[in-house]
Amino acid sequence: MPEVGIARTRPKYLNLVQIRLPLAGFVSILHRVSGAFLFLFLPLLLWLFGASLGSAESFEQFRQVGGHPLAKLVLLGLLWSYLHHFCCGIRCLLLDMHIGVSREASRRSAVAVLAVSIPLTLILAGALLW
Protein backbone atom coordinates (compact mmCIF):
# COMPACT_ATOMS: atom_id res chain seq x y z
CA MET A 1 0.00 0.00 0.00
CA PRO A 2 1.83 3.12 -1.21
CA GLU A 3 -0.58 5.40 0.71
CA VAL A 4 0.84 4.18 4.00
CA GLY A 5 4.36 5.01 2.90
CA ILE A 6 3.27 8.52 1.91
CA ALA A 7 1.48 8.95 5.21
CA ARG A 8 4.58 7.90 7.12
CA THR A 9 6.87 10.33 5.35
CA ARG A 10 4.55 13.29 5.86
CA PRO A 11 6.19 15.95 7.99
CA LYS A 12 4.73 16.06 11.47
CA TYR A 13 6.09 19.52 12.12
CA LEU A 14 5.85 21.90 9.21
CA ASN A 15 9.25 23.25 8.29
CA LEU A 16 8.64 26.75 6.99
CA VAL A 17 12.02 26.82 5.24
CA GLN A 18 11.32 23.64 3.27
CA ILE A 19 7.71 24.32 2.29
CA ARG A 20 7.31 25.54 -1.28
CA LEU A 21 4.09 27.52 -1.37
CA PRO A 22 2.06 27.82 -4.58
CA LEU A 23 1.72 31.42 -5.80
CA ALA A 24 -1.80 31.75 -4.36
CA GLY A 25 -0.47 30.64 -0.98
CA PHE A 26 2.38 33.14 -1.21
CA VAL A 27 -0.05 35.99 -2.02
CA SER A 28 -2.28 34.82 0.81
CA ILE A 29 0.45 34.81 3.47
CA LEU A 30 1.46 38.29 2.29
CA HIS A 31 -2.10 39.34 3.09
CA ARG A 32 -1.40 38.44 6.71
CA VAL A 33 2.09 39.96 6.72
CA SER A 34 0.84 43.24 5.22
CA GLY A 35 -2.04 43.38 7.70
CA ALA A 36 0.29 42.86 10.66
CA PHE A 37 2.68 45.52 9.32
CA LEU A 38 -0.18 48.02 8.93
CA PHE A 39 -1.38 47.29 12.47
CA LEU A 40 2.12 47.78 13.93
CA PHE A 41 2.57 51.14 12.20
CA LEU A 42 -0.91 52.53 12.99
CA PRO A 43 0.51 54.97 15.57
CA LEU A 44 2.83 56.47 12.94
CA LEU A 45 -0.01 56.77 10.44
CA LEU A 46 -2.32 58.35 13.03
CA TRP A 47 0.40 60.79 14.05
CA LEU A 48 0.99 61.76 10.42
CA PHE A 49 -2.75 62.14 9.84
CA GLY A 50 -3.15 64.29 12.96
CA ALA A 51 -0.13 66.45 12.13
CA SER A 52 -1.31 66.97 8.55
CA LEU A 53 -4.64 68.35 9.82
CA GLY A 54 -3.62 70.15 13.01
CA SER A 55 -2.19 73.53 11.98
CA ALA A 56 0.04 75.08 9.36
CA GLU A 57 3.03 74.44 11.67
CA SER A 58 2.16 70.79 12.30
CA PHE A 59 1.52 70.35 8.57
CA GLU A 60 5.08 71.48 7.97
CA GLN A 61 6.23 68.97 10.62
CA PHE A 62 4.23 66.29 8.79
CA ARG A 63 6.01 67.17 5.56
CA GLN A 64 9.42 67.07 7.21
CA VAL A 65 8.89 63.75 8.98
CA GLY A 66 7.32 62.27 5.84
CA GLY A 67 10.26 63.53 3.80
CA HIS A 68 12.91 61.79 5.91
CA PRO A 69 14.56 59.00 3.87
CA LEU A 70 13.90 56.39 6.57
CA ALA A 71 10.25 57.48 6.88
CA LYS A 72 9.93 57.27 3.09
CA LEU A 73 11.14 53.70 3.19
CA VAL A 74 8.63 52.78 5.92
CA LEU A 75 5.85 54.64 4.08
CA LEU A 76 6.73 52.78 0.88
CA GLY A 77 6.31 49.52 2.81
CA LEU A 78 3.03 50.72 4.28
CA LEU A 79 1.78 51.86 0.87
CA TRP A 80 2.54 48.44 -0.58
CA SER A 81 0.96 46.78 2.45
CA TYR A 82 -2.25 48.78 2.09
CA LEU A 83 -2.52 48.14 -1.65
CA HIS A 84 -1.67 44.46 -1.37
CA HIS A 85 -4.11 44.04 1.52
CA PHE A 86 -6.76 45.90 -0.50
CA CYS A 87 -6.32 43.83 -3.68
CA CYS A 88 -5.90 40.54 -1.86
CA GLY A 89 -8.94 41.39 0.28
CA ILE A 90 -11.09 41.82 -2.82
CA ARG A 91 -9.79 38.43 -4.02
CA CYS A 92 -10.78 36.96 -0.63
CA LEU A 93 -14.28 38.42 -0.88
CA LEU A 94 -14.70 36.97 -4.39
CA LEU A 95 -13.50 33.56 -3.20
CA ASP A 96 -16.00 33.79 -0.31
CA MET A 97 -18.73 34.25 -2.92
CA HIS A 98 -17.41 31.13 -4.72
CA ILE A 99 -16.09 33.18 -7.61
CA GLY A 100 -12.84 31.86 -9.10
CA VAL A 101 -12.32 28.95 -6.73
CA SER A 102 -10.87 26.56 -9.31
CA ARG A 103 -7.12 26.01 -9.22
CA GLU A 104 -6.44 27.85 -12.49
CA ALA A 105 -8.75 30.76 -11.68
CA SER A 106 -7.35 31.21 -8.18
CA ARG A 107 -3.81 31.21 -9.55
CA ARG A 108 -4.79 33.79 -12.15
CA SER A 109 -6.41 36.02 -9.49
CA ALA A 110 -3.27 35.69 -7.31
CA VAL A 111 -1.20 36.87 -10.29
CA ALA A 112 -3.70 39.71 -10.80
CA VAL A 113 -3.27 40.83 -7.16
CA LEU A 114 0.50 41.17 -7.70
CA ALA A 115 0.08 42.67 -11.16
CA VAL A 116 -2.16 45.43 -9.77
CA SER A 117 -0.71 46.08 -6.31
CA ILE A 118 3.00 46.26 -7.20
CA PRO A 119 2.79 48.68 -10.18
CA LEU A 120 0.21 50.78 -8.29
CA THR A 121 2.61 50.95 -5.32
CA LEU A 122 5.40 52.18 -7.59
CA ILE A 123 3.17 54.75 -9.33
CA LEU A 124 1.77 56.15 -6.07
CA ALA A 125 5.19 56.11 -4.39
CA GLY A 126 6.56 58.05 -7.36
CA ALA A 127 3.73 60.58 -7.13
CA LEU A 128 3.55 60.96 -3.33
CA LEU A 129 6.92 60.05 -1.84
CA TRP A 130 9.57 60.87 -4.43
Binding site: R32, G35, A36, L38, F39, L42, P43, L46, F49, G50, S52, L53, G54, A56, F59, F86, G89, I90, C92, L93, D96
Partner: protein, 115 residues
Protein backbone atom coordinates in the same frame (compact mmCIF):
# COMPACT_ATOMS: atom_id res chain seq x y z
CA UNK B 1 -30.63 11.97 22.36
CA UNK B 2 -29.57 15.56 21.97
CA UNK B 3 -29.35 16.42 18.33
CA UNK B 4 -26.62 19.01 18.20
CA UNK B 5 -24.90 19.77 14.93
CA UNK B 6 -21.42 20.63 16.09
CA UNK B 7 -20.24 22.11 12.81
CA UNK B 8 -23.29 24.32 12.54
CA UNK B 9 -22.97 26.26 15.78
CA UNK B 10 -21.57 29.30 13.95
CA UNK B 11 -19.00 30.06 16.62
CA UNK B 12 -16.96 32.81 15.07
CA UNK B 13 -19.37 33.40 12.20
CA UNK B 14 -20.24 36.86 13.50
CA UNK B 15 -16.54 37.85 13.56
CA UNK B 16 -15.98 36.39 10.11
CA UNK B 17 -18.91 38.43 8.78
CA UNK B 18 -17.82 41.58 10.64
CA UNK B 19 -14.36 41.26 9.10
CA UNK B 20 -15.91 41.17 5.60
CA UNK B 21 -18.36 44.02 6.21
CA UNK B 22 -15.70 46.28 7.73
CA UNK B 23 -13.46 45.40 4.76
CA UNK B 24 -16.13 46.56 2.29
CA UNK B 25 -16.68 49.77 4.31
CA UNK B 26 -12.94 50.51 4.23
CA UNK B 27 -12.64 49.65 0.53
CA UNK B 28 -15.45 52.10 -0.31
CA UNK B 29 -13.85 54.77 1.88
CA UNK B 30 -10.49 54.16 0.16
CA UNK B 31 -12.03 55.02 -3.21
CA UNK B 32 -13.74 58.10 -1.71
CA UNK B 33 -10.47 59.14 -0.05
CA UNK B 34 -8.47 58.73 -3.26
CA UNK B 35 -10.92 60.82 -5.28
CA UNK B 36 -11.24 63.49 -2.56
CA UNK B 37 -7.49 63.70 -1.97
CA UNK B 38 -6.83 63.97 -5.71
CA UNK B 39 -9.38 66.80 -5.94
CA UNK B 40 -7.44 68.92 -3.40
CA UNK B 41 -3.96 67.93 -4.61
CA UNK B 42 -1.66 70.93 -4.83
CA UNK B 43 -3.81 73.18 -2.63
CA UNK B 44 -1.57 72.60 0.40
CA UNK B 45 -2.59 72.63 4.04
CA UNK B 46 -5.69 74.83 3.63
CA UNK B 47 -7.29 72.64 0.97
CA UNK B 48 -6.39 69.43 2.81
CA UNK B 49 -7.85 70.70 6.08
CA UNK B 50 -10.99 72.09 4.41
CA UNK B 51 -11.60 68.68 2.84
CA UNK B 52 -11.65 66.89 6.20
CA UNK B 53 -13.46 69.73 7.97
CA UNK B 54 -16.59 69.06 5.90
CA UNK B 55 -19.28 67.25 7.88
CA UNK B 56 -19.57 64.39 5.42
CA UNK B 57 -15.83 63.70 5.26
CA UNK B 58 -15.53 63.85 9.05
CA UNK B 59 -18.38 61.37 9.41
CA UNK B 60 -17.05 59.03 6.70
CA UNK B 61 -13.52 59.16 8.12
CA UNK B 62 -14.74 58.35 11.60
CA UNK B 63 -16.75 55.39 10.28
CA UNK B 64 -13.57 54.27 8.48
CA UNK B 65 -11.59 54.37 11.73
CA UNK B 66 -14.27 52.37 13.57
CA UNK B 67 -14.24 49.78 10.77
CA UNK B 68 -10.42 49.77 10.85
CA UNK B 69 -10.23 49.13 14.60
CA UNK B 70 -12.84 46.37 14.40
CA UNK B 71 -11.18 44.76 11.37
CA UNK B 72 -7.71 44.98 12.92
CA UNK B 73 -8.98 43.39 16.14
CA UNK B 74 -10.31 40.33 14.29
CA UNK B 75 -7.20 40.06 12.10
CA UNK B 76 -4.66 40.42 14.89
CA UNK B 77 -6.68 38.08 17.12
CA UNK B 78 -6.60 35.46 14.33
CA UNK B 79 -2.81 35.82 14.06
CA UNK B 80 -2.41 35.35 17.84
CA UNK B 81 -4.79 32.37 17.82
CA UNK B 82 -2.59 30.74 15.16
CA UNK B 83 0.84 31.39 16.60
CA UNK B 84 0.63 32.13 20.34
CA UNK B 85 0.01 28.89 22.14
CA UNK B 86 0.31 29.71 25.90
CA UNK B 87 -3.23 30.75 26.92
CA UNK B 88 -2.15 33.34 29.49
CA UNK B 89 0.15 35.12 27.08
CA UNK B 90 -2.48 35.05 24.35
CA UNK B 91 -5.10 36.52 26.67
CA UNK B 92 -2.70 39.26 27.75
CA UNK B 93 -1.93 40.11 24.11
CA UNK B 94 -5.63 40.16 23.23
CA UNK B 95 -6.35 42.59 26.06
CA UNK B 96 -3.38 44.74 25.00
CA UNK B 97 -4.55 44.87 21.38
CA UNK B 98 -8.09 45.85 22.42
CA UNK B 99 -6.80 48.61 24.70
CA UNK B 100 -4.44 49.91 22.02
CA UNK B 101 -7.17 49.92 19.37
CA UNK B 102 -9.65 51.70 21.65
CA UNK B 103 -6.91 54.27 22.31
CA UNK B 104 -6.29 54.72 18.56
CA UNK B 105 -10.01 55.24 18.02
CA UNK B 106 -10.07 57.93 20.71
CA UNK B 107 -7.01 59.53 19.10
CA UNK B 108 -8.70 59.53 15.68
CA UNK B 109 -11.85 61.06 17.22
CA UNK B 110 -9.73 63.83 18.76
CA UNK B 111 -8.03 64.60 15.42
CA UNK B 112 -11.39 64.82 13.67
CA UNK B 113 -13.05 66.67 16.57
CA UNK B 114 -10.46 69.47 16.51
CA UNK B 115 -11.19 70.31 12.88
Amino acid sequence: MVKRILVGAHYGFRDWLAQRITAVVMALYTVLFAVAAASVAGSGFEGWRALFASGFMRFATFVFFVALAWHAWIGVRDIFMDYIKPTGLRLALHVLVILVLVGYLGWAALILGRL
